[in-house]
Chain length 456, copies 2
Amino acid sequence: MSLDAVLSRIDADLPNATERLFDLLRVPSISTDPKYAPECRRAAEWLVQDLTSMGVDASLRETPKHPMVVGHVDGDGPHVLFYGHYDVQPVDPLELWDRDPFDPAMEDTDKGRVIRARGASDDKGQLMTFIEACRAFHAETGRMPCRITFFLEGEEESGSPSLVPFLKENAEELKADVALICDTGLFDAETPAIVTMLRGLLGEEITITGATKDLHSGFFGGAAMNPIRVLTRILGGLHDESGRVVVPGFYDGVPDLDPGLRQQWEGLGFDHAAFLGGVGLATPAGEQDRTPLEMIWSRPTGEINGIIGGYTGDGFKTVLPSRASAKVSFRLVGEQDPHAIRESFRDWVRTQVPEDCKVEFEAHGASPASVMATDHPAFEQARQALSLEWPQEAAYVGAGGSIPVAGYFKSILDMDAMLIGFAKEDDQIHSPNEKYDLESFHRGIRSWARILDALT
Amino acid sequence: MSLDAVLSRIDADLPNATERLFDLLRVPSISTDPKYAPECRRAAEWLVQDLTSMGVDASLRETPKHPMVVGHVDGDGPHVLFYGHYDVQPVDPLELWDRDPFDPAMEDTDKGRVIRARGASDDKGQLMTFIEACRAFHAETGRMPCRITFFLEGEEESGSPSLVPFLKENAEELKADVALICDTGLFDAETPAIVTMLRGLLGEEITITGATKDLHSGFFGGAAMNPIRVLTRILGGLHDESGRVVVPGFYDGVPDLDPGLRQQWEGLGFDHAAFLGGVGLATPAGEQDRTPLEMIWSRPTGEINGIIGGYTGDGFKTVLPSRASAKVSFRLVGEQDPHAIRESFRDWVRTQVPEDCKVEFEAHGASPASVMATDHPAFEQARQALSLEWPQEAAYVGAGGSIPVAGYFKSILDMDAMLIGFAKEDDQIHSPNEKYDLESFHRGIRSWARILDALT
């Protein structure tokens, strides 16, 4: 049976697969910082070359920002579209990394071998699990197990500005029977998961400006309005005492959790104390009448992701700054309308800005939540294939993070998506010392081989 | 009469005096940033050499941080101690400067010629007015007009950590009949001023720490407490709706304004609208039942001078940071006790920190307010001398800024201080494009010559 041969080949080729991943990890493809644009292009070119080497008709496709990689290869059975992203998060604060984030290394840890680098888990390691599975099929059988379209993005970590226009312009080319997205995690170290609920994301940057220049607090302190005072007063009131976001209309379209799903989640035995305890916390910070699993999977949030104003260097400076700014994001669920919430948030801020200050807003992406149609047969085929590779049966779960592309595949291409990934909760994605377990990488490749075989 | 000869010499020597000031301005003696420590020393050495050249027995005196400059020169009449500081504020944001802050230049503007550089006004230009007056006396008469002790500090812009120990250790050497401090401004372009009320200053840095590492808001958003949310909630509540600081006991020791002084201040014709309008503001931001002049001269304040947390670079990053911090300062008046307020502020913060976060405090200086004893005869002698040099009669005024050394001269050396300076309100001290009017420099030198002559 060819699947067994493919799996054996995957096992034997693991050292080479790891070297290939290291090559990709060495490219600092930080999409949010314009100065790394050439590196994003370099990562895209690397992928085009790699896909071409296994018989895929792959090319780099220009966008106004970072290029897409699109590849096609024929095969029997259903047509699947695979999505991953080759861009990575910024690495600051760099001083908290134990090594160069772009000099990947294999490290032995208490929990086994890990691949340490920015992007090792999110998302280069994950996307390479699928590519390596395809490589093994191609090498072993001379062909792919089904017709595959590869679609690799370079703007996922910076709001995907080119994604929707690209999907619309290339809808016919990209439409497949089902999409496979590898950018999520295992439920726990033994239990694989298919994500069926994804939160949306709305990003806003607020800048409050007061005086026309920085002032000396000795001359003006007391008389001149301080933009940091205005900004902290507004943002300090974003949540009420019960942890709810106070922006008018924010909870419009937030559904009650389906009782069946609630029961299934309770059955997962999620350890709330361990979840928070693992990062030094103990008290769930969200709406006080919800469980932590609801807080992260099925409830919306408001978060301040960054704030800056005035003097922030060593020592002290008695300045009244002329401006202060913050980056704020909202995780969205159900039918919450990101555009309506953006307008409501802006109005809510504006009414609190005193007449001596002005406020400016910058939009950073707006995507609604997604809920998958799990009655498509591919879901159950994939769930059973995953269950064969891992110690525990695969589960349908929610995810707190936003993977807007899943929603766009549905709304623009009318295509369901299966979100399957092998990241672990201690992978430190978006943080210093990001890693990907070698087990995630190895079993991840094998999982895709099993899934591709099951779909055909 | 020798004063006329000294004044003529000052006029003739102005180009050389300006060149000397430029030499001192070229030294980037930023005291708050440890990497500029060698430059602070270089500025101190320059002053030692300059004082020595005019017959002063000057030397550099070590402290744990930046050195003091102390010089003695004999003369008849009273013994005065002159104080100034050779350190300067940081220059960020550097991109808002029209030229290198440490490459001084003479510029013609609508309002006359100005010397443009960091420290041109605060305080290198100001301290050199006194030194140039002494130089002219020495050159013209072969001696100083009175016995003078020069005392030049290099830590004024970074909380003066060495000042009190140094004053205590060298009290006998530094004690004089009266102190002259040149670090304040004119009341307006035509009206010189002697400051008799100075606000104190209390600086605090707060750091809120939540999780043990930065978290991804997709995985943890909603469940994990965000330190920026905690910090903004606390600082956003520092003032009540009427602009008063809510820290318990904060207003203990704040005196009512003396009715006579209030009347005098009302007579100054201070243009509140122009004061705020000059920096693009219109609405006094302090306690709503006070005038702007009271807000800046005789009322205490609470200000947030800096805040930082999370991702603050280009683009967006959906991080939940593990920490956020802010620099907060309080301007103090009357008998307010900085140490009691520090403790009250810390307690007030602590009670608002949720159990999943911890708070750390760092002290950045604590000095009480000063009120001068204007019945010392030197005050009226100086006021009359100043009135001869400038178009309008000199006034006794308050000052919103903190010059703690004046208080220490009183409490440690039992010596009254006269605060006389020639800065203008548009000098942009502590801000980009700082300048000092050539008129301030020239008339400032002449003013000190007149004052020294009047004191003898």
